[in-house]
């Protein structure tokens, strides 16, 4: 099985029905993608597959054959949204943060607050009540 991960081609001999989440975390040792529920409800494991935000706990790895997968590590730690999540306290405990950031990346330009809420509706945060996350995302978009 072959796919593009964060800009580089990777190969895995994982079972085709292995969860993409497990292949990323265990085989490829990229633990930035988190597991919160294992059933696609919390969004902590969100990654981008061909630019779309997807819960990696629901995806058998065979489904990403030939696709482009981007995880939080793919942002290289230098994405302005990452810094804004910390500055605006959009991250408290931080376990939802990588998934939240990946989901926010897909927002269109000049989003309204409602656009942000809709884009992040599949990502649960139990610490912040979301307000600080909106502040981080909107500041990032305004700066663009």
């Amino acid at each position: 099985m072959q796919f593009n991960l964060n800009g580089s081609d990777v190969e895995t001999d994982a079972h085709p029905m292995s969860r993409l989440l497990d292949v990323l975390r265990e085989d490829l040792e990229l633990t930035g993608t988190k597991e919160g529920c294992g059933e696609g409800e919390c969004g902590a494991c969100t990654v981008l597959i061909d630019g779309e935000p997807v819960c990696s706990c629901l995806i058998p790895v065979s489904q990403v054959q030939g696709a482009e997968v981007v995880t939080i590590e793919g942002l290289g730690g230098k994405h302005p949204l990452q810094q804004l999540f910390m500055n605006e306290v959009g991250a408290q405990c931080g376990i939802c943060t990588p998934g939240m950031i990946m989901a926010a990346l897909t927002l269109p330009d000049n989003p309204t607050l409602d656009d942000v809420k809709t884009a992040l509706a599949g990502n649960l945060c139990r610490c912040t009540g979301y307000s600080a996350i909106y502040r981080a995302v909107l500041k990032w978009k305004e700066a663009q």
């Binding site: 930035g32 590590e73 910390m86 509706a121 139990r126």
Partner: protein, 700 residues
């Protein structure tokens, strides 16, 4: 520039936003096994037989006979075993532990357990076993009730609430030279080490607990981690290999603690113009199958049960009782959200009965400095009930909206509440918490057991030390909590991490400054080498508390809040849509305004979930909706605008005037929601206010 009062960069660094921060499940050790817990499938009974229905090659298998010393989780009581021996008291009782290096093989293993089943007890009102009884008597309630102009009675109920930290419980136990290290998602590493010492005894003296990055706690990782850590250690000792146990969401929801369900009954006497003259209150908490922390949850619940009101005659009788359900435990607010829900809904019903405006009723009765609380504590100048009430009314234009929205599907409701900061009564004195500062070549390092679980412990502690010591914020480091290396600053609970531990750190910094004699840390270190300052917490000397009568200074200080909820009801579907919640809260002084605002916004969201969405369905003594699909917490689309107002009224005993904050925001949203729904004619006395419940709620 001062660090305190500024929203300085968090000490967490960028790791949480880059995925580099390491949580328990991110840790891998050579030769590591995965652990699994086999649990009971009946709520009450005796184990008759256990059959391992799988090829045991490569498995490590542990039962109660592998316990080196005492098979009891050392908490307030020693009643809960790490592994059941024969008696089963609830549906998720751990019986057997398995470990294997291959997760698939581990989870495919089948264990068949036969039980002799017994009739379970689920109704707390029918329980005859009480874990704790409390009886607070102030004045003479019976005669005050008999001479009151009006008496209003009511019964109020709240359900379980699940913490839903997004990171489930997890630990890794790692054998190391001469002992075992436990890495885990924990709030209170020193609780865990105490429990492990009791479990392991003198045969394994060298254990230490290291807190990994922790993906939320809210009380759910206060006492439960002692259990899972014990299990991982037993497997690690038997196998001689590192063992990781990470619960999946369903196991975490079914097996770990929740907020205690409550039944609270009020009988209240008033003069006809609305002055409280007697409050007779009964509090029943469903403790579940073991004691855990129920006595102290009941204690805090009872102390807050009369609300932030002045009344000369109060009686509060409480009990936390046994049922055959998984034990309930600590959850943000710790009993107070239940009892303050009851009293605040009751206050609106009283206002209705008397024909008085609910705000006016609160104005007449809210506690002021010099007034005496239900435990006969005389409040000091830092009591702010009236200040937060007036600001909330003004800011929300409450009176106009209440008038204008009459007869529409929109409504506005409020709650007035308070929350004691720190351990109850003599708790802080008994705890003897310590904090330490170590000099480093470039500054100082904070060495405390208080954990960062998202709320900002590292940052806020570093700010306090920065200003008290007068060195740059960047030169203050924070040690990772490791019980072999840091001072035992007490548990990270009870809104005490800033007010209590922060205070000890402030004193350490002042003493360190004296020792440096005007030199910078680097200069001193180069000339004289490393030094440390360790200090113990001294509560204010005026605190008097009687644990037998439950009278006296229950808390050194209180935070105060007034929440106003504006909402809309769909009269066809009974769906409630909150439009805005205004949270006006006074907690001394914010050390880090952005973090403090985050605590209020997040706690308010949990409170709204408690009010409207979060219903634990118990079937045969177990949570039937143990998934995030059917146990629903607020998403972005459920949350209204949260308008936070932080008011100041410094507490002289706190660092830079700060009080505790973490739990306060949890107390207000639920009664404010239900009071708004009263405005729409619904006589609701229970939460969560799901559409199913509202559709059968009687009209007023």
């Amino acid at each position: 520039m001062k660090a305190v009062g500024a929203s300085v960069p968090r000490k967490d660094g960028i790791g949480k936003a880059t995925g580099a921060a390491r949580y328990a499940d991110d840790l891998v050790f050579p030769g590591m096994l995965h652990g699994r817990t086999i649990r009971s499938a009946v709520p009450r009974g005796q184990i008759k037989s256990i059959k391992l229905d799988f090829d045991t090659a490569g498995f490590t298998i542990v039962d109660y006979r592998d316990v080196p010393a005492k098979n009891a989780v050392d908490l307030m009581s020693h009643d809960q075993p790490f592994l059941a021996e024969s008696e089963i008291r609830h549906m998720a009782e751990p019986i057997l532990l398995l470990a294997h290096e291959d997760k698939e093989k581990l989870h495919a293993a089948t264990v068949i357990i036969d039980y002799e089943e017994q009739e379970p007890l689920f109704d707390p009102e029918k329980s005859t076993v009480s874990f704790k009884d409390i009886d607070i008597v102030k004045g003479d309630v019976a005669s005050a009730l008999s001479s009151a102009d009006v008496v209003v009675e009511g019964e109020y109920r709240t359900g379980h609430q699940e913490h839903v930290y997004i990171e489930p419980n997890g630990v890794v136990a790692v054998p190391e030279e001469g002992g075992v290290a436990i890495y885990g998602s924990v709030q209170c590493p020193f609780y865990v080490i105490k429990a492990l010492r009791c479990l392991l005894g003198s045969a394994h003296p060298n254990v230490r607990v290291i807190q990994t990055e922790t993906g939320g706690g809210f009380g759910g990782k206060e006492e439960y981690p002692s259990m899972i850590a014990g299990h991982a250690v037993l497997l690690a000792i038997k196998s001689g290999r590192p063992v990781k146990i990470i619960y999946d969401r369903a196991e975490d929801m079914v097996a770990t603690t929740k907020r205690h369900p409550s039944i609270v009954r009020h009988r209240t006497g008033l003069t006809k113009d609305g002055k409280l003259v007697a409050m007779d209150i009964e509090v029943i908490l469903d403790g579940g199958a073991y004691v855990t922390l129920s006595p102290t949850v009941l204690s805090r619940g009872c102390i807050h049960a009369a609300g932030p009101y002045n009344c000369d005659n109060v009686r509060i009788q409480g009990r936390a009782v046994f049922t055959n359900t998984p034990p309930n435990g600590a959850f943000r607010g710790f009993g107070a959200p239940q009892t303050e829900f009851a009293v605040e809904v009751h206050m609106d019903r009283i206002a209705e009965t008397l024909g008085i405006d609910p705000v006016e009723l609160r104005r007449i009765n809210a506690l002021k400095p010099g007034d005496r609380t239900a435990t006969d504590q005389t409040l000091r100048e830092d009591a702010s009930a009236h200040m937060v009430l007036e600001e909330a009314i003004r800011r929300t234009d409450y009176n106009r909206k209440r008038e204008e929205w009459k007869g529409t599907n929109k409504a506005i409701g409020l709650s007035l509440f308070f929350h004691g900061a720190g351990f109850t009564g003599a708790g802080e004195r008994n705890l003897k918490s310590k904090a330490r500062l170590d000099l480093t070549p470039t500054g100082v390092r904070i060495a405390v057991g208080s954990t960062e679980i998202g709320q900002g412990t590292r940052t806020m502690h570093a700010q306090i030390v920065t200003d008290a010591l007068g060195i740059p914020y960047e030169s203050v480091e924070v040690a990772q909590p490791d019980t072999s290396r840091v001072a035992d600053s007490g548990p990270t609970v009870a809104s005490r991490t800033c007010m209590v531990v922060g205070k000890i750190l402030e004193e350490c910094a002042i003493e360190m400054k004296e020792k440096l004699r005007g030199m910078s840390p680097g200069e001193y270190y180069d000339n004289y080498g490393p030094i440390s300052v360790e200090r113990m917490y001294e509560p204010p000397d005026w605190i008097q508390w009687n644990d037998d009568t439950y009278l006296g200074d229950a808390y050194a200080t209180y935070g105060w809040g007034c929440d106003v909820v504006e909402l809309e009801l769909d009269r066809d579907t009974y769906e409630v849509k909150p439009i805005r919640i205004t949270a006006v809260q006074e907690f001394g002084r914010p050390i880090h305004p952005a973090l403090a605002q985050g605590q209020i916004e997040g706690g308010t969201a949990q409170g709204l979930g408690y009010a409207l969405l979060e219903r634990v369905v118990m079937k045969n003594g177990a949570m039937a909706n143990s998934q995030l699909t059917n146990y629903v917490i607020p998403t972005t689309l459920d949350m209204p605008e949260v308008d936070v107002v932080m008011m100041e009224n410094p507490y002289p005993g706190g660092p830079f005037g700060a009080k505790g904050l973490g739990e306060l925001p949890m107390d207000g949203p639920a009664p404010a929601v239900v009071n708004a729904l009263r405005g729409l004619g619904l006589d609701l006395r229970e939460i969560p206010a799901t559409p199913e419940l509202l559709s059968t709620t009687p009209a007023i």
